[in-house]
Structure formats: structure tokens, C-alpha cells
Point group: D2
Chain length 333, copies 4
Amino acid sequence: MSSLSSPTMIPLDVLLALPTASEFLAHLGGIYEKSPTFIEQFYTENLCPTTNDASTIQATKARITNIKILFDEMKQYVRRSPSEVQLELLRSHPDLCLKLEQIDATQRDEDEATITEESRQEQGRAGLATLTPDERQNFTEWNEDYKSKFNIPFILAVRNASKYTVLSALEGRLSNVNSSPQEEIAHALFQVDKIAYMRLLEKVTYSQNQEGHGGFLTCHVLDTANGVPAAGMRIELYKYDNTDTKQMVKSFVTNSDGRLPSGPALKGAEFTVGQYQWIFYVGDYFARFSSSRICGTPFLDVVRLDFGLDDPTDHYHVPLLCSPWSYSTYRGS
Amino acid sequence: MSSLSSPTMIPLDVLLALPTASEFLAHLGGIYEKSPTFIEQFYTENLCPTTNDASTIQATKARITNIKILFDEMKQYVRRSPSEVQLELLRSHPDLCLKLEQIDATQRDEDEATITEESRQEQGRAGLATLTPDERQNFTEWNEDYKSKFNIPFILAVRNASKYTVLSALEGRLSNVNSSPQEEIAHALFQVDKIAYMRLLEKVTYSQNQEGHGGFLTCHVLDTANGVPAAGMRIELYKYDNTDTKQMVKSFVTNSDGRLPSGPALKGAEFTVGQYQWIFYVGDYFARFSSSRICGTPFLDVVRLDFGLDDPTDHYHVPLLCSPWSYSTYRGS
Amino acid sequence: MSSLSSPTMIPLDVLLALPTASEFLAHLGGIYEKSPTFIEQFYTENLCPTTNDASTIQATKARITNIKILFDEMKQYVRRSPSEVQLELLRSHPDLCLKLEQIDATQRDEDEATITEESRQEQGRAGLATLTPDERQNFTEWNEDYKSKFNIPFILAVRNASKYTVLSALEGRLSNVNSSPQEEIAHALFQVDKIAYMRLLEKVTYSQNQEGHGGFLTCHVLDTANGVPAAGMRIELYKYDNTDTKQMVKSFVTNSDGRLPSGPALKGAEFTVGQYQWIFYVGDYFARFSSSRICGTPFLDVVRLDFGLDDPTDHYHVPLLCSPWSYSTYRGS
Amino acid sequence: MSSLSSPTMIPLDVLLALPTASEFLAHLGGIYEKSPTFIEQFYTENLCPTTNDASTIQATKARITNIKILFDEMKQYVRRSPSEVQLELLRSHPDLCLKLEQIDATQRDEDEATITEESRQEQGRAGLATLTPDERQNFTEWNEDYKSKFNIPFILAVRNASKYTVLSALEGRLSNVNSSPQEEIAHALFQVDKIAYMRLLEKVTYSQNQEGHGGFLTCHVLDTANGVPAAGMRIELYKYDNTDTKQMVKSFVTNSDGRLPSGPALKGAEFTVGQYQWIFYVGDYFARFSSSRICGTPFLDVVRLDFGLDDPTDHYHVPLLCSPWSYSTYRGS
């Protein structure tokens, strides 16, 4: 059974009790790209026993009961920082183009790599190295245009982003006549938050071996043609791996309320970040009703619904509303 | 380039001009399962030169300008028939259980087969022969229950239906305390209509080699987060074959109105009945907008939308309404 | 505080213990229009102490713990009856045209009325008497056509139906080339069920004064632009009276999960059949987010959602999914 | 028939040909609140014959063929301006609290008013003067908090906004821990754009008396229970006046494609900015189908859909997708 910790991870309570900034830095130094000073300051202002009185530190530790709260504190700390500090955080990010060259370089020779290991890994998964010469030229040019227009590097924290995502994002921001530096800076800070959170989850764990971060996945199927829960519908849950192939995780038959019969589809250690797919056997369900007129090649038969689980601490409710001729889904609660 | 005719097909105008019932029967005899008398009567009442005056026949031929109209005339003829005739049409269908045995039998010895070739082919595709012993027992039992309860055989004209579809349909009709013989008969007639139409399309063609039956497929993508057409979204269209693998047919990038840039995705000879899939690159699209906050593992990234094209004479509009957190589709117009 | 009983109503347990068919008939005789024999037979076969042994009667009484179960038993009894009996039930209904004349007649002279009091009341609310001469002619003609085509009177149990509903229904059934007597009979039986249930609810009550039949109304608002519950949204609930004016029943502000803060909006004696309206202050909600770009005349501001509560024993979940540019609702669970 | 001009409006071509900044200012001085210098600079850089060569001016005039293009040019001019200039534009706006006091003041004595006439009119319609003492206190306090937090006044260009909208917006921005000055500034610029556009439309017209700005309203109804256009559905269009009462504008019956039978519902001079309501007679439509099981108090009967038309130059497509148990709408195209 998978657990949340690996040998290089530090338990949250141990982290919060570290007595010096250098030790804190040794663990979380890479959270904000090439910005150890910022992490040091966060430690000094909030957790350092020489600059805070004991009761303040105690209160802070008592408040930070999980990794998401630690992240929230850091995020607020970024928000309260002067705009020069914020811009510095953004500008410490290598531009995606440089990363790209480096990924190629590391494929030749690890020693040449000058981007951080964290950054390389995130980007390495992105498959950017497969750019065609033309795409690389577009990419380089748009990247420069972005920096010129908004005075910050282009930052995108999409895990496993394809080159299409990155190129689409760059082109979209540049071609939008309404986009403003203010919005791009706000958005880049958002991306930096996300990177910090993703990195925190890989560096910090819990003292007591915990089964997951508390997130879970639920489902519900409504039959909008008849105004009732879709009872007795077969559903399968698949997970994609990084190479875009999928494995079935579980299968279900909905209960009389149109829900999964035994609680969440995923919870605890099973609930892991990634790309998933529901398969709903909608055609089989509607064949039960003579009024549905299911025949020939049905308009809807197998409904495949791809979705991503992003935050391991959250509840994801991913329902289906369907008739034989229409369906919709949304992130519910 | 695929055309609509094969050597065994008869052109519509030639069909309508056939001078005797036996010739008409030779071509369309199998349209209604084991019911040649019915076809004969249809011919006699509508097209036979000895029982209709010339001007009536002329009017009928002038009205029936395509295969769907021929089908509609036959459907109306069924509807106007006395209920005994209708029940006879239904009861001429082999029960699905017998078909099943026969499919197995034909795999051993063609001569033993007593079901019609048309019926065998439709069913053969259904993969019913892969029933487990338990499933076969359920199937046989439910089939008998159905006949006892409703006094007609269970008829299901789903092309390539899986055993799950058939079992779900049978179980649903039997367990529904509100189902009535009236409804089941009405529904069985609907299935018989569908079978007749599918068979007509394989037996009748046009004199002038025609590129398709006139149906076409269109698409439209709306961005419901921003209230605008989703311009510049990549879309791919795939077609499934009978073994559930798919081939890309075409790819598109939406225009400024969120539509395909060069008219229908499929039309003419390309528009063929079957299972298709749209892939919409929704995540890439929303990455264009800083306000979308696309990061980490996006909730929606690649939207896969499976749909069936059933009637080769119809317009299928299959749009997508999407935000980064929800989407819906429907058969539009 | 409203209760479920009135002096003329009979408690369920008392009803089920009535010793003779004539007493049972005295209470439920009008459930099926002009069909006392049918009610009598239902009593004789299920509840009569001289034709059933004590343990069977005991089991029946033990099963029928509420009015909906009584209704279900009657419905199944109809379903199991021979088709001649079913047709007799349908043909006992006065045609809507006759009702119309009678309603006019009763306005002149009560004595002339020959339709049942139950039927007159249901129809009287329908406002059919306001037909123009032309509409009355259409109505009469279509009614006759319907009877000729399907051999049963046209039955529609829509409470407070407008003349438009009735005319639309009649025209639709007649103009549908695919409609069949089987379907119309099945549907007419469904309407007769509905009438019986509505009449039962007005004739039977409970011994212990009960606050409502157990139904309740809930709500949920999801923000599909941001993928979160819509917290802090103002909602109002109105009820329409028969003259199409409405009164505010309650107002709410959604909690952090987008739900009503104190459970069901209506339950117990408050949950009564009728037409309601939610008002959702969607524009005010989205003005909270700078990313929503609410300005000028917002596309969506006040969302009004009219819905009917029909079955006093059911749960009605009536949610809203909304972005600043789109919304949807459905009967949920 | 209403036209686009009033005596105080200036035709676009005349405006673009004005020979001096002071004349240009006399007409458009109020477009950006208390920022005549900005308007003057726009004129000088783009239209002034002494600072631009003839061919440049000619090209500019040739490009600006309608009022929306003029607005776009101004918006881009704002976007290209240094951030100090942008902040100056924002800070020239009176705070909403001051406006409020002034509106009260003007009700006592016009001479005391110090806010611009444009601003007063927009705000006057907002009904802010009806704040209770408690609300006024909240309002004043939050307004101050907003200015302290983001260093700009709170700007909201919602026409006819209620006090609830303004209070909700203020509270939302202040309570959002993720909101940033960058985003608020970007949003405030967006509001300032909107104000400029609304004022332009009231100050500039066309030489040739034009029937409307080109915008139009269309509709489409899809029946998602049956997968077909909703043909023959009655629809009514209402317009709200400022006192929240409504007048019917037109009524329609959908054609066989589920669309309005004679093109746009509104176009030309009829297409005016404001709050509208569609009424869809969904219950009557579904009563046409026996499979819909419409009876009792239908869940959906009359669907009321309120929407705002904001930009007189745009196409608004406002469709309905409906089953007897669900519906959705969106701004389409």
C-alpha cells in the first residue's frame, strides 16, 4: 500500500520545529525557484525562535496542522510582500525556452544543466524537447515577445503539459489585445503558488504514516429524460499513466439513488493526483426503457469522461447528467 | 471513393417500376422478418399496375423520391394495418435466444441455420455468442418471461449491441412494474421499423451513382466561462471500427465563431453510419486566458465525446459547451 | 398550522379496516371516474374479510403503511386487469369537450351537470370555459378525431392546465404520424393513475395528525466558471397561487458548500403541491470576483427558475449550475 | 421609430474631423471621468492635423468606421499608456460613497453636486440612496478598506446596479485572500473601459440616420429528451423597465428547426440595451408527446429566462435546451 512518505521527505511537525533557517532552507529551499532568501525570510518571520516569541511560534505551529495550511501561509506571505519581491520571485524562473535547451543538454550531459532539478523534472515531463524546428522558432520568438510585453518570464505550471498547451498559452496571451501586465503578473503569481504547492507535497510528509491527504472522489448519475436518478448503470474508472495509456481502477453499478454503492470511488492512499476517465454505459441504461427508443446506432452509448485530480486534499464530485441525446458534467461538491 | 451501390442492390426507380409482386418480393422480401405476404400486400396496394390505376401509381412514384420516403410509406402502412397484422409482424421475429443458438450452429454447420441471413448478420455482430453459461441461462429465462408477460418476442435492433445492452434491456423491461403490453408492442413496432429501414438502405440504391444519402455532421464550441465562441480550439474526429479501435478521420481548428473552418466535418460519401469520437483540446484552449487559472493537473484537459451517426439522411450537429470546470453536449440542429 | 385532514377525509387505517365493500365504496368510489365496480373488486380481492383469509388481509394492511403504497397497489391492480377492464376505465372518462359544456352549464344551473364533482373541480380549475368560439370548434373537432383514431377519450390530468396545454396536447397526438393506439392507451392509463393518486390524497388521511407526507425541497448552487460551490449567494423562494401571482415564502443565503444553511427549504406541512419559483441573485454573486468582469447590463443577473412540486411524498432537489454566461437546472436527488 | 441620435450627439465622421483638441474635448471630455488631458492626448496623437501627417490621419479615420472601433482605439490607447497614467485614470473616479452623498445632496440642491453629470446619472439609477444606516456604514467602511488595500477607488460600472450588487462586490473583493492589487487594477481598467464605451454610445452618432448599431437577438429551442428541435413551442419576449415591471415585446411560435420563424427577435432600432425575459411554454410543448408523461403539476411548465442585452453592436444568441425535467441556456453565437 502506497504511503505518503519517502526517505527524503520531512514530517510536517519536524519541519515546523527546525531550529535554524539553514536547516529549514535545506528542506524547502527549492519551493520557490532560486529564491532561498524568500524562504529564509518566511522562516525568520514565522518560525525562528530567535525572532519570534515562543507563544507566537506556538500559535503558528498549532494553526499549521496540514501541508495545505502551510502552503496557504506561504501564499499569503507572497501576497503581503512588496511588489519588487513578488517580481523577483517571478523573474527567478528560467524561461521555458532555456529549460528546453537544458532538457536537451541534460540528455547529452547532466553536468551542463543549470536549471534546478525541480524545474527540470516538471518540464521534462512536458515533452517540450520534441518541438519541431519551426515550433522551436515560434516558441523562442513568442517567449521573447512575452518578456518584452509583460517584463516577466512566461510561467506555466501545468504538469505534463504538451507543447500544444504551452504554445497555445503563449500565443493566447500575446494575441489578446486586452491582456495587461497587471493580469499577467497576477496570473504568474498564481502559477508560482501552484509550483510551490506541488513541490511542498513532494518534500513534506506526516510523522504518523498517513493514508492519503484526505481527498476523495465521488460520482452521481441523473437521468434528465425521466427526471430520476440513473439506477443500475455500469460505470468504470480508469487512470492514465504518463504515456497516455490507461488502466481500469474499479468498476461500479449505481445504486437506486444513482450513486456509487459503497461510498467514494477513491479515497485515502488510492486518491492520487493524475488524469482519470469515467466510462458510463449510458446506452445500456436507456435500453431498459421502451420510451427511450434505443435502436440502430444510438447517439449516446458509451460516455467517456476524462478529468484530472489535482489537489490531493480536496473532494472531487464528478457527476453525469444524461438523456439519450445529451449529457453534461461539472466539478460538483 | 465509396459509392452507395453494390451489385446486389436495386435502384429506387427500377424498384418502384417492377411489374409484379414476385419481382418486388425478390428484392425486398427480407425487409420485414419472415413476412413476405406483408411486403406483397404493400406492393399490391401501392405499386401494382393491375390493382391501381396509372395516375395513382404515378403519384406514388413521384412522391417516393428517396429511400427514406419509401421507408416512411412502409412505416405508415404498418401503422394503418389491423393489430393482428402488426402482432404477426412482431411474432415472425425469431427470439434472440434462438438466434443465439443458431449463430453457434452456423459456426458449426451453415445448413442447420433456420434464421434469416439478414437477422443472422445483424445478430452476429452483436457478439451474443460470447455469453457465459450463467448469462445464457439468465438470458433464456428472461426471454421466456418477456414472451409470457407481453405475448410478443423481445426485439432489439441495436447494431453491434453488446450482451450487456441486451441483458440490460430485457431486465429493465421485466423489472419495470409500470411497463405495459401496450407500450412494449408500440416499442417493438418501433424496432421493427428500424430494422426495415436498415435493411432497405442495404438493398436499395439510386440509378445515378450518388455520393451519400445527404446527411452531414457539424460542430460548434462555446466557451461558457467567457460567454464567447471558442476560437482556435484544436479538434480531432475519429471513427471506431467494429473491434472498438479508432482511426483519426480529420483534424480541425475552430474559426472565430467556434465552428469548423470549412463547413461540415463529414458529408456525402464520407458520412457513414457508425460510432465516432470528437476530441476537443479544451485545456489548451483555456490556457490562452490568464483568467482560467489553468495549472497543475487541469480538471478538464482533453474532452473525448463519443457519438453515433445512425441515419445517413440526417444532419447531426454535435456541439460542445465548456468552461474549465464543466461541459455539455447534445444532438443539436 | 395546516394539517393533512379535513372532516370528510378518512384515516388510512380506518379505511383499510372497513368491513364491507359498500362502505369502502362510499369513501373511494370516485377514485376512478364512474367505475365503482372496479373499486369494489379491488376491495373484494384485497381487503374483504369474507373473500380473503385473515392472514392475507393482515399482510396487505401491514404492507400499506402510507397513501402512496395504497396507490401503488391500485395501480398494479389496474396493470394486472384484462385489457377490456382497462379500456372500460378509460372510456368511463367524460370527454374534455363534454366537461367543458358542463362547466358552462353548472355556471347556469348546477342541476344540469352530469359529470362527477371530482372531474368538474379538476377541470374547472383548467380555465377551459374561456375558449373562444374558434378554439371551441378546434377543440371539439380534435377531440372527435382523437376518439376516432384511438378509440378512447382524450384524458389529461394536468392540474390547472391552460387551454393552450390541452389544445397543444390534442394537436400533438393527432399530428404525430408515429403515434399508435398502443401508446395512447398506455399513456391514458398513466393519466388515470395520476388522477386516482391526486383524488386519494384528497380523500384519505392519517389517524395521527401528520405534518405533511414526507416530501421536501432542497437546493444547491455550483459556480461552473470557477469550479466551486457558489457560497454566499442570495436566494428567494416564491409560491404561485392559482391566479398566477406569487408570494415570497422564504429567503436564504447559501453556505460555503453552496447549499441552504438550515436544511430543506420546505418540509413537513410547508411542503405542498403547487408552482414555485426560485430567484437566484447570480449577478451579485459574480460581482464578487474581479475575474467575472461583471459590468454594464450583465448577461445574467437575476435568474428566475419556475418549478412544480407534484408528489407530496417525494424529495425534490432543484439545483442551479451557473457561470456569468450560462446556467442549467434539473430535477436532482 | 426611435433613432440613434439626439440634438446633443455628434456624428462620428464629424467628430473625427474636428480640427482642434478643444473642440474634440467639448464633445468627448467626459468619456474618462475627470480626465480631459487624457482625451486631449488621444486626439493629439491620433487625429490632430498639426501633429500627424495627413496620410496617417486619413488611415485612422478610414479604420474607425463605427463607434465600437473608436472605443477599441481608445481602449488600446489606455493599455499602452504608462501605469502612472492608468492609475491616474482610475483615481479620478469619485468613490462610490462620495457619489452616494452627492446623490442625496442633489436631491436637496443641485448646486452642491460636485460629481460629474455622467457619473451622477449612472449612479442615480443604481438606487444607492436607499441604503439603510447600517448598510451605509458598511459601505463606507468597506470602501475605505478597499482603497487602503488596493490603492485605487472601487469602480463598478453596472448599469442600474442594486445596493446588493455593490455591497456584494465590495465584500467579495475584500474577503478574497487571493485577490491582488494587480488583479484589481486590471479589473478597474476594464470597468473604466466599459464606462467609456457606454458614454461614447450616448455622445456619438452617425451622419446618416441609422437604425440601430447592428446588434440582434436570436433564439433556438432544442428538445433534449427526444433529440430534436422543439418545433411549435410558444415563446414570448418581454422587456423590463427601470422599475422592474415588464412589457411584452413580441410572441413567437418556433418553426420546424426550433427557431423563430421570421429571423431575429430584435434587430435594428428595436435592439436596445436593457433587461429582457424570454418565456418558453415548455410544459405545453411536452404535452404533445405521450412519452413525456406530463400530468399533475409538471416539474417544468413555464420557463422564464431573464437576460441582459449589453452591447448594441453584438449578436446575442440566447437558446434553450430542455427536457421535461431539465433545462439550460447560455450566450451562444
